[in-house]
């Protein structure tokens, strides 16, 4: 126990005594907390801009951050700080254009338009924004606390009870689960996963002659991770956006215009008491859904909204607005749920190295680029006599998240309410500029035009996926997990002395394998 407290303390110290960003009156200002603030503000601004999303900002800022802080373990906390800030900020900021202009700033904020925009039209945009911020931050904070408690526990259990064959089976289970739950059909989810696996296997075999390169020298070390991920995730989205903007040249915008009489526009007495139970239930739903890899915040928001809607309909007094007509409970339910997803999503990332959403993918990408921190069960090893630096980093990350929440509570709302103007930046400028920014960022990291062509090719894949209804996130998750999966399988096979049934050698691994097959089989019948 005292060891745990010691590590928590070391994590806090690592954040506040890390590298200094500048000094003020002779006192060094630590970089990490400042970076959280910078990330949070960036995230809110990006979230508030329709057409931009958190992952895009994370993608663009990562190479700049790495250049500033370098490839040393000291760089980990400031870089994570900024990325976590973006993650938290974007989920708050997404509500701004959803409420003010009926345009979701991020896909997660779609359900927020249902009640947020009507409330704004009824003359209370400020009240809607405050409710959104309050609910979002509460949900986020709750799920972070669950993360702090569960991730170390889960990791210790995994490391203590799982040998190489079980670890292999667990990876297979995660990938199958992602394939089964994401996207409109299991076939399409599985296609996305299969292609992600195959793409990751290009060039990366054990033998000194690389495989599946079709004779291309540049592929000897496989597709660069950043090129594949940013291509499918970011470029694909940009391509689709450009095509859509070209087709609807003059996009009509719904303005927030007060229809009715001018109302007092702020939180009303009793608002907090009214929305509290909705926030609580939605935060729990979001946290549970977030902890499962691949099940997105959109599902959490939809589920919470419909449950809240049923509860609200049963209890509503006649003078209160119904769901869809500007009910504060509606805003609260969706915002609490989609924000609660983000913290819980880091449970499988930190304890198992398995990413569940785009933000988690970028944290893994950052850790992979910088080095010195490998998300997975080995992180949570409370070794004596020496200090485990990865564990200190993990508790540093928890500290950064707490700082992020604190900032979100205090100044996030004020900053968010000033962001309405961003919704007017036209996508026609934004998308080409973001495209050039992403390509430049990739080049700076890979220093090869070949990587740019690869990124473009993956961008086309991402575009085609979106057009024919194949989900893109399973592709990315499979791409990230493919190499660990093959590596663990090789190790397990060799370590068991070449047992072909190593995946079925213990009860645990059999259970994982059965669950993997069941998730695909059952969900495809649905």
């Amino acid at each position: 126990m005292s060891e745990l407290l010691n590590y928590i303390w070391l994590g806090v110290l690592a954040v506040f005594q890390g590298p200094e960003i500048f000094s003020l009156f002779g006192f060094g200002i630590p970089a990490a907390p400042v970076m959280v603030l910078g990330g949070l503000l960036t995230g809110i601004a990006v979230g508030a801009t329709p057409g931009l999303a958190g992952p895009m900002a994370m993608a663009a800022s990562l190479p700049i951050l790495i250049s500033v802080f370098g490839f040393t373990p000291d760089a980990l906390l400031p870089v994570f700080g900024f990325l976590i800030g973006i993650m938290k900020g974007a989920s708050v900021g997404g509500a701004v254009p959803a409420i003010l202009f009926n345009m979701p700033g991020t896909p997660d904020a779609l359900m927020t338009t249902l009640d947020g925009h009507p409330m704004a039209r009824n003359g209370q945009p400020r009240r809607a924004l405050r409710i959104a911020q309050l609910s979002s931050v509460t949900g986020d904070t709750f799920s972070d606390i669950v993360l702090f408690i569960c991730a170390p526990f889960l990791a210790v259990v995994v490391e203590a009870y799982l040998d190489l064959p079980e670890k292999t089976a667990l990876l297979i289970l995660s990938i199958s689960f992602v394939a089964a739950v994401m996207g409109g059909s299991v076939g399409r989810g599985l296609l996305s996963v299969g292609l992600g696996l195959v793409a990751a296997f290009v060039g990366t075999g054990q033998a000194l002659t690389p495989r599946l390169t079709a004779g291309v020298d540049g592929l000897a070390d496989g597709f660069p991770l950043v090129a594949a991920i940013l291509g499918v995730l970011i470029l694909g989205e940009i391509f689709k956006g450009i095509e859509e903007l070209a087709h609807e040249k003059a996009a009509a915008r719904a303005e927030a215009r007060a229809d009715g009489p001018r109302l007092r526009d702020d939180l009303e007495k009793g608002d907090i008491r009214r929305i509290a139970p909705y926030i609580a239930r939605s935060a729990v739903i979001g946290t549970i859904i977030g902890a499962l890899p691949g099940v997105g915040s959109t599902l959490a928001a939809t589920l919470s909204y419909s449950l809240a809607s049923r509860r609200h309909a049963a209890r509503r007094r006649d003078d209160e607005p119904a769901f869809g007509k500007g009910a504060p409970e509606g805003i609260a339910a969706t915002e609490a749920a989609n924000s609660a997803v983000s913290g819980a999503n880091l449970i499988p990332v930190l304890s198992l190295g398995i990413p569940g959403n785009a933000a988690a993918v970028f944290l893994i990408l950052a850790a992979d680029s910088i080095g010195g921190f490998n998300p997975g069960p080995a992180v949570f090893k409370f070794t004596a006599p020496e200090i485990n630096p990865e564990l200190v980093t993990a508790f540093g990350i928890f500290t950064l998240m707490s700082i992020g929440n604190l900032l979100n509570w205090t100044i996030g709302g004020r900053f968010m309410r000033s962001m309405g103007v961003l919704a007017r930046v036209p996508g026609q400028i934004l998308l080409p500029v973001v495209l050039l920014l992403t390509l430049t960022a990739i080049y700076v990291q890979e220093t090869s035009l070949f990587a740019i062509w690869v990124t473009f090719a993956f961008g086309l894949v991402g575009y085609l996926f979106r057009r024919i209804g194949v989900p893109v996130l399973p592709f990315v998750i499979a791409f990230i997990l493919a190499r660990p999966l093959e590596q663990t399988a090789r190790e397990a096979f060799a370590a068991t002395g070449g047992d072909p049934w190593f995946l079925f050698s213990s009860l645990t691994s059999i259970l994982f394998m059965v669950a993997a097959v069941a998730s695909v089989a059952l969900l495809s019948r649905k």
Partner: protein, 318 residues
């Protein structure tokens, strides 16, 4: 501010740079691309970047480091072979890349004689490593357990290491379960997680050994390890091969001899100057600088190549 003015100053210096004829005043005709065959952020990468920094500071040559990883250094070799042989393209690999790996892969364009070795920087402190509090913390305990029929998981990070482990086991009468993992870090993680029992690590174990978490149960090089002077060498235990090697810089084949001499001297100069950060890093993390250049390096590489050929022959004969 320094950063903003640096490109301008260098541009001015470049415009004034005269054409050189002999080694003493050889200067690169433009910026030097330094390809690094190791993952960004690791010890070897840091070493390369600090050497680049040192050369820039001492000689005013602009160096542009870039990562070219993969395939045991052969990806870098393939890329470097395409670059001009005028001293503006160099690469950092391990000696194993152009000896064992090149021979095993068999591509005639990537063999040692197609490149110009410039200088070694440090030698491997390669040990056979186990957890200090584990069941295999000495060679005797490993041998005993193997005799008793316990399967022993032996972590390796390259084919060469696997071959030596295999032949070592054969000569000691032990049939190891040889487990291929990713790099020395993979071996150490595997040891910590209990997934493997023993494994080769080429120097990264130093800190863990000094802190008493792990032990070198044997030395894999033809000398005692600096951290564990009491550990026997693997040849004491019956192995006929070592796993010795170097971190080193190479250039494309047929490099101008003046450029070769000047670049080798620059690397030597930076690594042996106690004032440089590169010197400090190599002293702390790599057992000290070990710079070999010129003909001595050619001889050394020839020996390593011959050993590698013999190892490949012995290992594949079975």
């Amino acid at each position: 501010m320094d950063n903003f003015l640096k490109p301008l100053a260098l541009a001015a210096a470049l415009a004034l740079a005269p054409a050189a004829s002999n080694a003493g005043d050889w200067a690169p005709p433009g910026p030097i691309t330094m390809m690094i065959g190791f993952a960004a952020g690791g010890g070897a990468d840091t070493q390369a970047r600090l050497i680049a920094q040192g050369i820039e500071a001492k000689y005013g040559w602009k160096i542009l480091p870039q990562q070219v990883t993969g395939n045991s250094g052969l990806s870098l070799a393939a890329e470097l072979a395409k670059a001009p042989a005028d001293g503006t393209a160099i690469g950092m690999v391990v000696s194993e890349s152009l000896t064992y790996s090149a021979l095993a892969a068999g591509d005639p364009n990537l063999q040692l004689d197609k490149f110009t070795p410039l200088a070694t920087t440090a030698s491997f402190e390669l040990g056979l490593v186990a957890m200090a509090d584990g069941a295999f913390n000495s060679w005797d305990r490993v041998a005993e357990a193997a005799k008793a029929g316990t399967p022993i998981r032996f972590g390796i990070a390259s084919d060469r290491q696997a071959d030596v482990a295999y032949l070592f086991g054969k000569s000691a009468g032990i049939d190891f379960n040889i487990v291929p993992v990713k790099g020395g870090a993979g071996v150490m993680n595997g040891l910590r997680g209990g997934d493997i029992d023993i494994g080769w690590v080429a120097g990264a174990q130093s800190k863990a050994v000094q802190q008493g978490e792990m032990v070198n149960i044997a030395s894999g090089i033809p000398a005692k390890l600096k951290d564990s002077p009491d550990a026997p060498t693997i040849t004491d235990l019956g192995s006929t091969f070592y796993l010795d090697g170097y971190f080193m810089f190479i250039a494309p084949g047929n490099l101008d001899p003046a450029a070769r001499e000047a670049l080798g001297a620059a690397i030597n100069d930076v690594l042996n100057d106690p004032a440089t950060e590169a010197h400090a890093l190599v002293a702390k993390g790599f057992g000290g600088a070990d710079v070999i250049t010129g003909e001595a390096l050619d001889t050394k590489m020839k020996t390593l190549l011959d050993n590698a050929a013999e190892l490949l022959e012995k290992a594949s004969a079975n």
